[in-house]
Symmetry: C2
Protein backbone atom coordinates (compact mmCIF):
# COMPACT_ATOMS: atom_id res chain seq x y z
CA UNK A 1 0.00 0.00 0.00
CA UNK A 2 1.31 3.43 -0.92
CA UNK A 3 0.68 6.45 1.29
CA UNK A 4 -1.26 8.11 -1.49
CA UNK A 5 -3.69 5.18 -1.31
CA UNK A 6 -4.35 5.65 2.41
CA UNK A 7 -7.10 8.19 1.90
CA UNK A 8 -9.04 5.74 -0.27
CA UNK A 9 -8.98 2.92 2.28
CA UNK A 10 -12.36 2.06 3.82
CA UNK A 11 -10.88 2.82 7.24
CA UNK A 12 -11.22 6.03 9.22
CA UNK A 13 -7.84 5.53 10.91
CA UNK A 14 -6.08 5.20 7.56
CA UNK A 15 -7.89 8.24 6.19
CA UNK A 16 -7.00 10.31 9.25
CA UNK A 17 -3.37 9.23 8.94
CA UNK A 18 -3.31 10.27 5.28
CA UNK A 19 -3.55 13.84 6.64
CA UNK A 20 -1.98 13.79 10.11
CA UNK A 21 -0.01 10.52 10.18
CA UNK A 22 3.29 12.30 10.22
CA UNK A 23 5.31 13.41 13.20
CA UNK A 24 5.79 16.93 11.91
CA UNK A 25 2.08 17.36 11.27
CA UNK A 26 1.24 16.17 14.78
CA UNK A 27 3.88 18.41 16.37
CA UNK A 28 2.52 21.38 14.37
CA UNK A 29 -0.96 20.57 15.68
CA UNK A 30 0.33 20.27 19.23
CA UNK A 31 1.79 23.77 18.88
CA UNK A 32 -1.44 25.11 17.35
CA UNK A 33 -3.30 23.97 20.47
CA UNK A 34 -0.68 25.86 22.53
CA UNK A 35 -1.49 29.04 20.57
CA UNK A 36 1.38 29.10 18.07
CA UNK A 37 0.27 30.63 14.75
CA UNK A 38 3.26 32.02 12.89
CA UNK A 39 5.67 30.30 10.55
CA UNK A 40 8.84 31.50 12.26
CA UNK A 41 7.48 30.55 15.63
CA UNK A 42 6.67 27.01 14.49
CA UNK A 43 10.10 26.80 12.96
CA UNK A 44 12.03 27.91 16.02
CA UNK A 45 10.09 25.47 18.21
CA UNK A 46 10.22 22.49 15.86
CA UNK A 47 13.61 22.97 14.25
CA UNK A 48 12.20 21.74 10.93
CA UNK A 49 13.62 23.10 7.70
CA UNK A 50 11.54 25.85 6.04
CA UNK A 51 10.84 23.45 3.19
CA UNK A 52 9.48 20.65 5.38
CA UNK A 53 7.48 23.02 7.58
CA UNK A 54 6.00 24.83 4.59
CA UNK A 55 5.07 21.53 2.97
CA UNK A 56 3.31 20.21 6.11
CA UNK A 57 1.45 23.49 6.69
CA UNK A 58 0.25 23.47 3.07
CA UNK A 59 -1.01 19.90 3.45
CA UNK A 60 -2.90 20.82 6.63
CA UNK A 61 -4.43 23.91 4.99
CA UNK A 62 -5.39 21.95 1.87
CA UNK A 63 -7.05 19.28 4.01
CA UNK A 64 -9.07 21.91 5.88
CA UNK A 65 -7.42 21.37 9.27
CA UNK A 66 -5.77 24.80 9.35
CA UNK A 67 -6.72 28.08 7.75
CA UNK A 68 -4.15 30.59 6.56
CA UNK A 69 -4.76 34.29 7.08
CA UNK A 70 -2.65 37.26 6.03
CA UNK A 71 -1.87 39.48 9.04
CA UNK A 72 0.73 41.77 7.46
CA UNK A 73 1.21 43.04 3.90
CA UNK A 74 4.81 44.29 3.68
CA UNK A 75 6.48 41.95 3.96
CA UNK A 76 3.67 39.47 3.41
CA UNK A 77 3.08 37.40 6.55
CA UNK A 78 0.40 34.85 7.29
CA UNK A 79 -0.74 33.02 10.34
CA UNK A 80 -2.25 29.58 10.69
CA UNK A 81 -5.26 28.80 12.81
CA UNK A 82 -7.16 25.65 13.60
CA UNK A 83 -10.50 25.30 11.81
CA UNK A 84 -13.45 23.47 13.38
CA UNK A 85 -12.04 20.33 11.74
CA UNK A 86 -8.66 21.07 13.33
CA UNK A 87 -10.08 21.83 16.78
CA UNK A 88 -11.81 18.48 16.60
CA UNK A 89 -8.36 16.82 16.70
CA UNK A 90 -8.00 17.83 20.33
CA UNK A 91 -8.78 14.31 21.64
CA UNK A 92 -5.96 12.89 19.48
CA UNK A 93 -3.41 15.34 20.91
CA UNK A 94 -4.70 14.95 24.47
CA UNK A 95 -4.61 11.15 24.20
CA UNK A 96 -1.01 11.28 22.97
CA UNK A 97 -0.16 13.65 25.82
CA UNK A 98 -1.70 11.49 28.53
CA UNK A 99 -0.11 8.33 27.16
CA UNK A 100 3.29 10.01 27.17
CA UNK A 101 2.62 11.34 30.70
CA UNK A 102 1.83 7.86 31.94
CA UNK A 103 4.43 5.76 30.19
CA UNK A 104 7.30 7.98 29.11
CA UNK A 105 7.73 10.68 31.74
CA UNK A 106 11.07 10.97 33.47
CA UNK A 107 11.64 11.49 37.19
CA UNK A 108 10.25 15.02 37.02
CA UNK A 109 6.80 13.82 35.96
CA UNK A 110 4.65 15.23 33.15
CA UNK A 111 6.15 18.39 31.58
CA UNK A 112 2.81 20.17 31.54
CA UNK A 113 -0.67 19.69 32.89
CA UNK A 114 -4.04 19.99 31.17
CA UNK A 115 -6.48 21.69 33.49
CA UNK A 116 -10.22 21.41 32.98
CA UNK A 117 -11.17 25.05 33.39
CA UNK A 118 -14.72 24.28 34.44
CA UNK A 119 -13.81 22.31 37.57
CA UNK A 120 -10.07 22.92 38.01
CA UNK A 121 -9.16 19.23 37.88
CA UNK A 122 -5.85 18.26 36.27
CA UNK A 123 -5.03 15.37 33.93
CA UNK A 124 -8.56 14.03 34.06
CA UNK A 125 -9.39 13.79 30.34
CA UNK A 126 -10.80 10.29 29.91
CA UNK A 127 -12.48 8.48 27.07
CA UNK A 128 -16.03 7.88 28.25
CA UNK A 129 -19.24 6.65 26.69
CA UNK A 130 -21.50 9.68 26.11
CA UNK A 131 -24.52 7.43 26.63
CA UNK A 132 -23.82 5.62 29.93
CA UNK A 133 -20.86 7.75 31.16
CA UNK A 134 -18.74 4.67 31.91
CA UNK A 135 -15.14 4.38 30.64
CA UNK A 136 -14.82 3.55 26.95
CA UNK A 137 -11.74 1.32 26.75
CA UNK A 138 -10.47 -1.63 24.75
CA UNK A 139 -12.08 -4.11 27.12
CA UNK A 140 -15.52 -2.52 27.11
CA UNK A 141 -16.01 -2.02 23.38
CA UNK A 142 -16.41 -4.15 20.28
CA UNK A 143 -16.26 -3.48 16.58
CA UNK A 144 -19.16 -3.81 14.16
CA UNK A 145 -18.04 -3.94 10.57
CA UNK A 146 -20.18 -2.10 8.08
CA UNK A 147 -18.31 -2.21 4.80
CA UNK A 148 -14.73 -2.26 6.10
CA UNK A 149 -13.08 -5.61 5.58
CA UNK A 150 -12.91 -7.50 8.88
CA UNK A 151 -9.49 -9.01 9.64
CA UNK A 152 -10.94 -12.50 10.13
CA UNK A 153 -13.42 -14.46 8.12
CA UNK A 154 -16.62 -14.47 10.14
CA UNK A 155 -15.62 -11.52 12.28
CA UNK A 156 -18.28 -9.35 10.65
CA UNK A 157 -21.58 -9.23 12.45
CA UNK B 1 15.42 18.57 15.63
CA UNK B 2 16.18 15.02 14.62
CA UNK B 3 13.72 12.21 15.20
CA UNK B 4 16.18 10.50 17.50
CA UNK B 5 16.00 13.59 19.73
CA UNK B 6 12.21 13.43 20.04
CA UNK B 7 12.25 11.05 22.99
CA UNK B 8 14.40 13.50 24.97
CA UNK B 9 12.08 16.47 24.47
CA UNK B 10 10.30 17.68 27.63
CA UNK B 11 6.99 17.04 25.88
CA UNK B 12 4.77 13.99 26.23
CA UNK B 13 3.42 14.36 22.68
CA UNK B 14 6.95 14.34 21.24
CA UNK B 15 7.93 11.35 23.38
CA UNK B 16 4.82 9.44 22.32
CA UNK B 17 5.54 10.22 18.68
CA UNK B 18 9.10 8.94 19.04
CA UNK B 19 7.46 5.50 19.38
CA UNK B 20 4.19 5.66 17.49
CA UNK B 21 4.52 8.76 15.29
CA UNK B 22 4.68 6.77 12.14
CA UNK B 23 1.82 5.72 9.92
CA UNK B 24 2.90 2.09 9.81
CA UNK B 25 3.15 1.89 13.58
CA UNK B 26 -0.33 3.37 13.98
CA UNK B 27 -1.81 1.04 11.35
CA UNK B 28 -0.18 -1.93 13.10
CA UNK B 29 -1.74 -0.79 16.38
CA UNK B 30 -5.13 -0.36 14.71
CA UNK B 31 -4.88 -3.97 13.53
CA UNK B 32 -3.77 -5.16 16.98
CA UNK B 33 -6.97 -3.69 18.44
CA UNK B 34 -8.89 -5.63 15.76
CA UNK B 35 -7.24 -8.84 16.97
CA UNK B 36 -4.51 -9.29 14.39
CA UNK B 37 -1.42 -10.96 15.90
CA UNK B 38 0.60 -12.67 13.22
CA UNK B 39 3.26 -11.28 10.94
CA UNK B 40 1.78 -12.61 7.70
CA UNK B 41 -1.63 -11.34 8.66
CA UNK B 42 -0.31 -7.84 9.34
CA UNK B 43 1.53 -7.98 6.08
CA UNK B 44 -1.39 -9.03 3.94
CA UNK B 45 -3.58 -6.31 5.49
CA UNK B 46 -1.02 -3.50 5.39
CA UNK B 47 0.85 -4.32 2.21
CA UNK B 48 4.12 -3.23 3.85
CA UNK B 49 7.35 -4.90 2.84
CA UNK B 50 8.60 -7.59 5.25
CA UNK B 51 11.54 -5.34 6.06
CA UNK B 52 9.44 -2.31 7.02
CA UNK B 53 6.90 -4.37 8.95
CA UNK B 54 9.62 -6.27 10.82
CA UNK B 55 11.36 -3.00 11.68
CA UNK B 56 8.19 -1.37 13.05
CA UNK B 57 7.20 -4.47 15.05
CA UNK B 58 10.68 -4.59 16.59
CA UNK B 59 10.44 -0.92 17.58
CA UNK B 60 7.04 -1.49 19.20
CA UNK B 61 8.31 -4.57 21.09
CA UNK B 62 11.46 -2.74 22.23
CA UNK B 63 9.36 0.17 23.48
CA UNK B 64 7.13 -2.17 25.47
CA UNK B 65 3.96 -1.54 23.47
CA UNK B 66 3.79 -5.07 22.05
CA UNK B 67 5.05 -8.36 23.36
CA UNK B 68 6.30 -11.12 21.11
CA UNK B 69 5.45 -14.70 21.88
CA UNK B 70 6.48 -17.88 20.11
CA UNK B 71 3.43 -19.95 19.18
CA UNK B 72 5.08 -22.54 16.92
CA UNK B 73 8.56 -24.08 16.86
CA UNK B 74 9.02 -25.62 13.40
CA UNK B 75 9.08 -23.38 11.55
CA UNK B 76 9.50 -20.73 14.24
CA UNK B 77 6.51 -18.42 14.37
CA UNK B 78 5.70 -15.64 16.79
CA UNK B 79 2.70 -13.54 17.50
CA UNK B 80 2.45 -10.00 18.74
CA UNK B 81 0.12 -8.85 21.47
CA UNK B 82 -0.62 -5.53 23.07
CA UNK B 83 0.86 -5.06 26.53
CA UNK B 84 -0.84 -2.90 29.19
CA UNK B 85 1.15 0.00 27.74
CA UNK B 86 -0.17 -0.88 24.29
CA UNK B 87 -3.78 -1.31 25.40
CA UNK B 88 -3.53 2.14 26.92
CA UNK B 89 -3.18 3.55 23.38
CA UNK B 90 -6.84 2.74 22.74
CA UNK B 91 -7.94 6.39 23.14
CA UNK B 92 -5.44 7.46 20.46
CA UNK B 93 -6.79 4.94 17.95
CA UNK B 94 -10.42 5.65 18.85
CA UNK B 95 -9.86 9.41 18.53
CA UNK B 96 -8.31 8.93 15.10
CA UNK B 97 -11.25 6.70 14.13
CA UNK B 98 -13.92 9.15 15.26
CA UNK B 99 -12.18 12.09 13.61
CA UNK B 100 -12.00 10.18 10.33
CA UNK B 101 -15.65 9.13 10.74
CA UNK B 102 -16.73 12.73 11.17
CA UNK B 103 -14.58 14.51 8.62
CA UNK B 104 -13.40 12.02 6.03
CA UNK B 105 -16.17 9.47 5.53
CA UNK B 106 -17.61 9.06 2.06
CA UNK B 107 -21.27 8.74 1.15
CA UNK B 108 -21.48 5.33 2.75
CA UNK B 109 -20.67 6.69 6.21
CA UNK B 110 -18.17 5.27 8.73
CA UNK B 111 -16.70 1.91 7.61
CA UNK B 112 -17.10 0.37 11.05
CA UNK B 113 -18.75 1.20 14.33
CA UNK B 114 -17.37 1.03 17.87
CA UNK B 115 -20.02 -0.33 20.19
CA UNK B 116 -19.86 0.19 23.93
CA UNK B 117 -20.62 -3.33 25.08
CA UNK B 118 -21.95 -2.22 28.47
CA UNK B 119 -24.82 -0.11 27.11
CA UNK B 120 -24.93 -0.97 23.40
CA UNK B 121 -24.44 2.63 22.25
CA UNK B 122 -22.48 3.23 19.06
CA UNK B 123 -19.86 5.87 18.27
CA UNK B 124 -20.23 7.49 21.68
CA UNK B 125 -16.60 7.55 22.86
CA UNK B 126 -16.06 11.10 24.06
CA UNK B 127 -13.26 12.84 25.89
CA UNK B 128 -14.71 13.78 29.26
CA UNK B 129 -13.38 15.13 32.54
CA UNK B 130 -13.23 12.24 35.03
CA UNK B 131 -13.87 14.73 37.84
CA UNK B 132 -16.93 16.70 36.70
CA UNK B 133 -18.04 14.47 33.78
CA UNK B 134 -18.37 17.41 31.39
CA UNK B 135 -16.74 17.36 27.93
CA UNK B 136 -12.99 17.92 27.91
CA UNK B 137 -12.34 19.88 24.72
CA UNK B 138 -10.01 22.60 23.46
CA UNK B 139 -12.36 25.34 24.65
CA UNK B 140 -12.77 24.00 28.18
CA UNK B 141 -9.14 23.31 29.08
CA UNK B 142 -5.96 25.24 29.63
CA UNK B 143 -2.32 24.32 29.90
CA UNK B 144 -0.16 24.71 33.00
CA UNK B 145 3.51 24.51 32.21
CA UNK B 146 5.65 22.67 34.71
CA UNK B 147 9.10 22.43 33.17
CA UNK B 148 8.15 22.30 29.49
CA UNK B 149 9.07 25.48 27.68
CA UNK B 150 5.93 27.58 27.07
CA UNK B 151 5.59 28.86 23.50
CA UNK B 152 5.22 32.46 24.68
CA UNK B 153 7.17 34.45 27.23
CA UNK B 154 4.92 34.81 30.25
CA UNK B 155 2.64 31.95 29.21
CA UNK B 156 3.87 29.85 32.14
CA UNK B 157 1.85 30.08 35.29
Amino acid sequence: MRWSELKDQPCSVARSLSIIGDRWALLILRDCFLGVRRFDHFQSRLGATRHVLSDRLKTLVRAGVLTRKRYQERPARSEYRLTAMGLDLYPVIVSLTHWGDRWLADRRGPPLALVHTRCGATGTATLTCAECHEPFDARSARVEFRFAEPPFAGAAE
